[in-house]
Amino acid sequence: MLNDILQGMSLALHFDALLGIVIGVAVGQVLGAIPGLTASMAVALLIPFTFYFDPWVGIPMMLGMFKGSLFGSSMAAILIRTPGAPAAAATVLDGGPMADQGKGGKAMQTALVASVFGDTFSDICLILASGVLAAIAIRFGPGEYVLLIAFSLLTLASLSGKSAWKATVATLLGLVFGAIGLDPMLGSERLTFGQLDLFDGLGLIPVLIGVLAVSEVFMQMRKPLTHLASKTVEFSAKREDNRLSWLEFRRLLPCLTRSSVIGTIVGALPGLGATIAAFLAYNDARNISKTPEKFGKGAIEGVAAPEAANNAVSGSNMIPLLAFGIPGDVAAALILGAFLIQGITPGPVAFHANPVPLYAIFTAMLLANAVNFGIGKAFIPLAKRMVAVPKRLLFPGVLIIASAGAYAIRGSLFDVQLTLVSGAVGYAMLRLGFPPVPMLIGFILTPILEKSLRQTVLVVSAADGWLDYVLSRPVLMVLIVLFAAIAVMMLRKRMQFVRQSTGASGFPADE
């Protein structure tokens, strides 16, 4: 095992891999800082380019991009109140007022320290937890996988978006899209209508780029033309307004730790996501603060807490991906896409059969945090120029880069068309209130869900029925009890919420 760890570390510490991390973080920070380019969007656009590199350049680069773009999106949130990702919305609450007071530099330094702190905290939890969970997951058969995926989809459907029915429809629509192509067991055509390009199914990367990047550009284009022009930001010249002192850091440490714990727990559960973690941490920081009245008016904890929490999510949401091979949210789905195009299939078997790449990934993640900190420090003074890029120039560029990236994966014009169609579908979903993320997760999980389900049915038909099958699998029984308990708890919470929100008018809150 020690040998595997050392081999993995040496892969990530190779010069090319380090260069990949540095380039990834720098590009991620720049793109993330541009208003209108969300972190997911930036990474979706950049993933195809990593395909051209050796896996041990491409994967560290992509991990660096993700971490860099998360911090970059916080800069846009602080400086011009345009969160680069929904998760950075909580940062706007106090980051915006700090920037108005000329303390944009201090707010960004705080965001950087909090981001790296939260990220490192959850990466360590990921390293400790995923191996243990994978050791359990190696005992999983198709039945356990069906249960696990069904539970993930159920959680997503009930927790994503404001309306449970719309999230359910979105998740199931993802299953339909994921089923297009040749049948995995029989090889017969399914919704391909003779189109050869569809035989392998809808391409993951074009769909991700379309739904995450193109649809978001369309949403932004709806805004008034004045919104599409540039904005400017003023920084105070005072030194103390542009740095985070050691004393301030020590004062923030308990808040950073609590927020990182919140982010890590939320990130490990499928469907909750960084936005919820950021707001939970923000509320927690306000509740324990001795000066809660300062929140919303430029409190430094109001920047540190959501930043630590939303970055902590990014590490722990890889726990289900690496331990079970199941992405818990869109960030993990993007990372899964990058792993797959590089020929790496995450999951419990990888821990057992070929753990070296996983140790390399862990090392690259920790290194990327350090690089993110270093480059972030240097990048902060340049940020106010980045956030001033006019969107009316940016968005057409995004659309063309998205098309080029989609084409580059397989050299197929069909993928460019698929990207555009996916963008239109994502836009329609957003306009109608259907959350696109559950659709994406459903789409990604369909092949493994369907295959596992059909294998389970075949195994049961060869055995003495369902009851015997379930009773012969202790892990499955434990999962059934565990998931049933969680489902009942979630249902009770949801009904409580609906009752509270319909109390006054009799109308459901989400309608």
């Binding site: 380019f49 051209y52 309306s163 029915w165 719309k166 359910t168 429809v169 199931l172 629509l173 299953l175 339909v176 089923a179 049948d183 067991m185 029989l186 017969s188 055509e189 399914r190 919704l191 209508f193 369309f218 284009m221 709806r222 805004k223 008034p224 033309l225 599409l228 022009a229 009316r392 120039l393 968005f395 057409p396 560029g397 659309l399 063309i400 880069i401 098309s403 080029a404 084409y407 580059a408 050299g411 014009l413 460019v416 068309q417 990207t419 555009l420 239109a424 836009y427 209130g433 369907e450 389900l453 049915v457 075949l458 038909s461 319909t502 008018s505 009799g506 109308f507 459901p508 309608e511």
Partner: protein, 174 residues
């Protein structure tokens, strides 16, 4: 009330879509000829998804109906009404449709016809103009510089070929 009605209409549209999918599209698009009787078959996941969507839409309709019944006459009050779209919002929606149409022409016609690079210069210019940038020289320069950057990245750095288009190929220019 308007928001409520649009929600109900959406649920009805989902129901209709599920019916169309299950009774027309799936039978026409799924080959079940070689299905093993012990296997769930290639339709199963599609049927489950469609049925699940229909149940979700029905549940939404039931909730809306239940909410209206409970709230009685008071419920339709103005407080629940969604504001009609402003002229600016209508313009925004129209802008997106025009850009979508332009991109449709780009992805389905132009790239194949005149190649990725020429098509990108034309589309970039057109979309930037549509988004309100009226400085012609800047628009042209931006379209050319960005496309040239993509050319350098793909053709020279990544050694990847983007489509040249059949007109250029027929003329022997690529």
């Amino acid at each position: 009330m308007r928001a409520l009605n649009s929600e109900a209409m959406l649920a009805v549209a989902v129901l209709a879509g599920c019916a169309l999918f299950s009774f027309v599209i799936v039978p026409a698009g799924v080959d079940t000829a070689f299905a093993d009787p012990r296997d769930l078959g290639p339709r199963f996941i599609l049927d489950i998804a469609s049925a699940g969507m229909a149940v979700a839409a029905l549940a939404a309709l039931a909730r809306i109906g239940f909410g209206r019944a409970r709230a009685g006459e008071e419920a339709g009050a103005d407080g629940d009404a969604a504001a009609p779209p402003t002229p600016e919002e209508r313009k925004g929606a129209r802008r997106v449709l025009i850009v979508l149409a332009a991109l449709g022409v780009y992805a389905f016609v132009l790239i194949d016809l005149i190649g990725f690079y020429v098509a990108s210069v034309v589309t970039l210019g057109a979309v930037t103009w549509l988004l309100g940038e009226r400085r012609t020289l800047l628009v042209a320069l931006y379209a050319l510089v960005l496309t040239a950057s993509i050319y350098v990245l793909f053709e020279i750095v990544l050694q990847s070929r983007l489509p040249k288009g059949w007109i250029l190929q027929a003329a022997g220019l690529s």
